[in-house]
Amino acid sequence: MATYSTNEFRSGLKIMLDGDPCVIIENEFVKPGKGQAFNRVKIRNLKTGRVLEKTFKSGETVEAADVIDTEMQYLYNDGDQWHFMDPETYEQVAADATAVGDAAKWLKEQDICTVTLWNGVPISVTPPNHVVLTVVETDPGVRGDTSGGGGKPATTDTGAVVRVPLFINEGDKIKVDTRTGEYVGRVKE
């Protein structure tokens, strides 16, 4: 089993903590003038996304987490699981709702996503930064309004609700930033 010493701590390092894979966001080495040194780290739990702080005695070792990020194509949802494929090896994995989480509402078939695998099993899915979605439900458009001021909610084919300008109609394709959930623009066919 691979381990890391606190000397090797740096941001991005994946370690096991209380049975969950985590990534180090920030590592600070603190030491009183004389005496015990500590590593104060900010860690994100890769399963829950929660950020926590933890202090290690310097020199301690922790178990490495076998976590890798892979670019995979989203194939389909079978009602229970989301299926992804490695476009190079054609290898497929299935992610459950816990792993997909909020990303579900941005997933469009054929899009390339980042799938985080822990011991080969998906634990989180990051959609592309920008996705193009079709509006399936919104109040009728207001002709002549292109300012985007005000806006209205629109439901997309993936189930996401996005605030769009008044001129957007059902059937329009829109570009959305998945990191903020904000409308970026209308996409002309």
């Binding site: 000397n7 590592n27 600070e28 080495f29 603190v30 030491k31 009183p32 003038g33 004389k34 005496g35 015990q36 040194a37 500590f38 104060r40 926590l52 702080e53 933890k54 202090t55 290690f56 005695k57 310097s58 020199g59 301690e60």
Partner: protein
């Protein structure tokens, strides 16, 4: 190697040079002699919290401070002296640590730690226009900033205080000093007033290092640490001069190293012989020069004051 450029800006390197010149002028004006001692020694520092670099295949270690050699000079009758030394501590790297760094160390005969604190404050005033310093005992600092008396609290109390303060930590074991160090670094240091230099003195006897212990209840180490603007800057002692007690402390430190699975270090028999011969009563202090430059330059990462930090070296 693409990253060949220095980490520090030319302006900061010029500032560093000016500060070094002013440190030398400060001591010259006070008749304190500049000395140089070897970086490589046949002995090493047994402090279990400091790791020395060893020369491959030889019984030689890089010094972690010039303290032992300078005390030999004092025992030989040299008098007040200072040194600006490059020192080495394995594994210490971070925003305020570089494994290779510069210490200003000086000794004053017949002084105690309080008189030396005055002089450290004078130096800060002269170099950095520091306002007058404040002094707090270790106990006062803990009561004020960690909400616990570090001398009456036992391991259970100290651990409970850490949990209450929301410090998530793996089990640190049963040594109260480890828990004190945790509270010191996580609760006391971050909450110290940062606008004025602050000395914390009268440390637990178990953390005396090379300081005298003043008998009493509890006995207290005549040691001080200096903090300013959130940074630990200096560590000083009313120096231990008793050779037997020094040997006992070294052996105790080596015992703790073995307990922690660390190699024992060869004791500095030359220092012990010098103490046996007679170290005049004195006070000594080591001040981090890189951190001094950080304060002068207003930067918060040690790499910004080093021409080439550990990763670029």
């Amino acid at each position: 190697m693409s990253d060949w450029r220095p980490a520090a800006s030319p302006a900061v390197l010029a500032l560093r040079a000016r500060l070094l010149a002013r440190i030398r002028a400060f001591f010259q004006a006070r008749n304190v002699l500049e000395v140089e001692t070897p970086c490589f020694s046949r002995a090493a520092n047994p402090d279990p919290h400091i790791e020395s670099f060893r020369l491959a295949g030889e019984s030689r270690w890089l010094h972690t401070s010039p303290e032992f050699a300078m005390k030999r000079l004092l025992a030989a009758g040299l008098g007040d002296c200072f040194q600006i030394a490059r020192v080495f501590r394995a594994g210490e790297a971070g925003r305020r640590h570089n494994p290779e760094f510069t210490l200003l160390e000086w000794y004053r005969l017949a002084w105690d730690h309080h008189r030396l604190m005055d002089e450290v404050a004078d130096l800060l005033g002269e170099l950095l226009d520091a306002p007058p310093a404040r002094r707090l005992t270790y106990r006062e600092a803990f009561v004020e900033f960690a909400g616990i008396d570090p001398f009456t609290a036992d391991v259970v109390d100290l651990r409970a205080r850490a949990v209450e303060a929301g410090i998530a930590v793996s089990d640190l074991g049963d040594d109260p000093d480890t828990w004190r160090d945790l509270l010191l670094t996580h609760l006391v240091e971050p909450n110290l007033p940062s606008e004025i230099p602050l000395f914390i003195h009268d440390w637990p006897a178990s953390q005396a290092a090379l300081a005298r212990i003043r008998p009493g209840s509890p006995p207290l180490a005549e040691r001080f640490e200096l903090y300013w603007r959130g940074m630990e800057l200096a560590n000083g002692y009313h120096e231990l001069t008793d050779a037997t007690e020094q040997r006992r402390r070294f052996e105790q430190e080596n015992a703790r190293r073995r307990l922690a699975g660390l190699p024992s270090m060869p004791l500095d028999e030359a220092l012990l012989a010098a103490l046996e011969h007679g170290l005049p009563p004195c006070a000594g202090v080591a001040l981090g020069v890189d951190r001094l430059v950080m304060l002068a330059a207003g930067v918060d990462d040690i790499r910004q004051v080093l021409a080439f930090d550990w990763e670029r070296a």
